[in-house]
């Protein structure tokens, strides 16, 4: 398996940022009550993670160790502000709907985690790929969460009504606490699945 494929599989599944590493939880709780907001936010996170990884990796041999983290934060903030500027200038509607969430991408631990754990020690293109796929791994988990929450909380999917109007929306699903429950159940189910397939693979022996 090539390096790229391995990274893809790790980030989407076996070392998923949200499900396995439990990173980026704050934004998971905040944005997952509407699928559209979730999609745009996670798209932003994927691009920012990819490009900040690319940049940090490209200048990694120049960065003094003492200011390593400051530089990473600077680069991340740079890309987040670019995303914000682009949204505000060209798709003001979306920017309005997302409100403060775009700025909050900066605080997403996944981005800094990838910069520190991967981009510091790997070549630029590989780092970009790692960042992008880490973002995509985050995206699919959040979209799944948002799907469950929006369906039960509003009876809609991407704003389109799918459940009959006799359905009583669960207000709890709209509020952040429900993300705790849904996420926990999701992690439980998927981790259980991963562990079971590992046991089958290794015959029950520890790797």
């Amino acid at each position: 398996m090539s390096e790229f494929k391995k990274i893809l599989k790790k980030n989407l599944w076996s070392e998923n940022q949200v499900l396995v590493q439990i990173l980026g939880i704050c934004s998971t709780l905040a944005v997952t009550n509407r699928m559209l907001n979730t999609l745009i936010m996670t798209l932003g996170v994927s691009l920012v993670t990819g490009f900040s990884n690319l940049t940090i990796s490209a200048i990694r041999s120049l960065i003094p160790r003492k200011v390593r983290m400051i530089t990473q934060v600077l680069v991340i903030a740079f890309y987040v502000i670019i995303v914000d500027i682009i949204l505000r200038a060209y798709v003001p509607e979306v920017s309005k709907a997302l409100g403060p969430y775009v700025g909050l991408i900066i605080t997403n631990c996944i981005i800094m985690g990838r910069a520190e754990a991967f981009a510091q020690g790997n070549p630029p293109i590989l780092s970009f790929w790692d960042g992008l796929t880490a973002g995509l791994g985050y995206m699919w988990v959040l979209l799944t969460l948002a799907f469950i929450r929006e369906l039960l909380g509003f009876g809609t999917v991407f704003g389109v009504k799918v459940l009959p109007s006799s359905f009583t929306p669960w207000t709890i699903m709209v509020m952040p606490p429900s993300a705790f429950f849904v996420l926990a159940v999701l992690i439980w189910v998927i981790r259980g699945f991963i562990i079971r397939s590992e046991i089958k693979f290794t015959g029950g022996e520890k790797k």
Binding site: R34, K66, T71, I85, I86, P92
Partner: protein, 204 residues
């Protein structure tokens, strides 16, 4: 010559150069898009005023043109727009107030009698998406249309029947604080409008 990457001088120079370059690029981008951003901000305002007044438009230019035809009044810093339909005046006032998380700005349109609400629309708000943020939704804003408010407006969860004369509209379940904040803002706005128009304002 080999540069010592861990020396103080290098660290300072590196930090300075990196910060300078990134901030420079951002400032440049910001400048490039500033006119676009301003245009869309202005359009949000124009659109809110027209929506509140119930004026339809089909494009950006159309909206702008119709907006410029409105009469404009100034009173203590609040902007009031006047539209005349069939000889009757409709006032639209721009309001600013604090919601639960941040400012709520919008437009409230009131008929000549200063008691009947014609429409309401929001320019900016940062309420909880899915809860307080639903003040932007059609059903919520439409409730205000034609509502008569002789005294004070009430945004209440106990509103049941669709009675346009009781000065009450349905609040959003799960967003009590936003509903309360909005109630206060709108009452203050009505108050401002009433003092302004009954007190006499100068035409701009």
């Amino acid at each position: 010559m080999k540069v010592n990457k861990e020396s103080k001088l290098y660290t300072v120079i590196f930090s300075f150069v990196v910060t300078f370059v990134f901030v420079f690029v951002l400032a440049f981008l910001n400048m490039l898009t500033a006119s676009n951003v301003q245009k869309s901000q202005e359009f949000f305002k124009i659109r809110a005023v027209l929506n509140a007044l119930g004026i339809t438009y089909n494009s950006y230019d159309d909206a702008k043109e119709k907006f410029q035809q409105l009469n404009k009044l100034q009173h203590n810093g609040s902007e009031i727009f006047v539209n005349t339909v069939d000889g009757k005046k409709v006032y639209a006032i721009i309001f600013h107030g604090s919601g639960l998380w941040g400012p709520i700005d919008g437009v409230l349109a009131v008929a000549e009698d200063l008691e009947t609400i014609v429409g309401i629309d929001f320019i900016t708000q940062n309420e909880t998406p899915g809860l307080g943020g639903r003040i932007e939704e059609r059903w919520f804003k439409d409730q205000f249309n034609g509502e008569r408010i002789p005294q004070k407006l009430e945004i209440s969860v106990s509103k049941t029947s669709d009675d346009k004369g009781d000065g009450r509209v349905d609040a959003i379940s799960g967003a009590t604080l936003t509903s309360k904040a909005l109630e206060k803002i709108l009452n203050d706005t009505l108050e401002t409008l009433r003092t302004a128009l009954r007190g006499g304002v100068k035409n701009e």
